[in-house]
Symmetry: C2
């Protein structure tokens, strides 16, 4: 048993995205029981200048896709960013998980020293190693957005527990 770039990335992303998808099922059931439009939940924010739930979910998938694709050196799927319903967000998560599952340990292990240059939409660039991209950018951001999605729904009154957030560890 060894810890590797693969073991600390792909199975983690899959575990927490699968948990997030199940949390969205609970959000759909909550909206139905409360007779509120699910879009009310999806547009809820914790602060006026924070992303609403719908963008927290998109951001979680983005960090998993970007890190997985860049570390493995393959193109990750892109999405419309127009997802506006729970089924559409669940589809985006499912496609992200499907892509992550195509990545093999041999494609990602050893990528810790890989030079990765990212150009942001602003035009700014930032240089990472595989390790710094994963540990100091992708994983913290991924957890941030998964947690904030959970926090928004808790703030809306959903009954969720830490187990919903954690999901179930996966063996890939």
């Amino acid at each position: 048993m060894t810890v590797s770039m693969y073991t600390i990335s792909v199975p983690i992303f899959v575990q927490f995205l699968t948990g997030l998808s199940a949390v969205l099922d609970k959000a759909a059931a909550f909206a139905e029981a409360k007779k509120v439009d699910p879009s009310v939940l999806l547009n809820t924010r914790l602060a006026p200048d924070m992303f609403p739930l719908v963008r927290q979910v998109r951001a979680a998938t983005d960090h998993a896709l970007s890190a997985g694709g860049r570390l493995a050196g393959v193109d990750a799927p892109t999405f419309s960013n127009a997802e506006a319903t729970i089924p559409e967000l669940k589809e985006r998560i499912a496609k992200t998980v499907e892509f992550l599952k195509t990545l093999k340990p041999a494609q990602i292990d050893g990528s810790e020293g890989k030079e990765i240059k990212i150009t942001f939409p602003s035009g700014a660039t930032r240089e990472f190693t595989g390790e710094s991209l994963l540990l100091n950018n992708a994983l913290p951001n991924f957890y941030f957005h998964c947690t904030t999605a959970y926090d928004i729904l808790r703030n809306c009154g959903l009954e969720l527990g830490k187990r919903d957030f954690m999901g179930t560890p996966v063996k890939l």
Copy 2:
């Protein structure tokens, strides 16, 4: 350069705890500017059955201490759990960081297969490997509590950005 149990744990805990401490400084300044008692912020929750800010901070330190100590096989410091002010929480964070910095890579690297049995306050026990403790328990919980502390303060109206959450990567 290699990824190891040490590189994915101690420097990460130190980075985000240091960020959290700086966020608490901003909370103190916010409370002073708004002329509210800081304890109002520390007792704010996102849902009635979630921890308030004060316990989110304690929980973040607990997961870092517990994982660091167990992986290295040394006793982590314990705290009173009575911290009720921002300076007391910052002191708890500082002592946690101080402890983490005493841990050397040689004490933690190779602990991925180590058998670790945890007895919870309820009396229930759970068996982990070093890897499963860190990847499937300590790190997700640590990030959960750091993020939720940030989310509570954003929800209170503090002006914070993702950089405040991220802190600065550390070289140990």
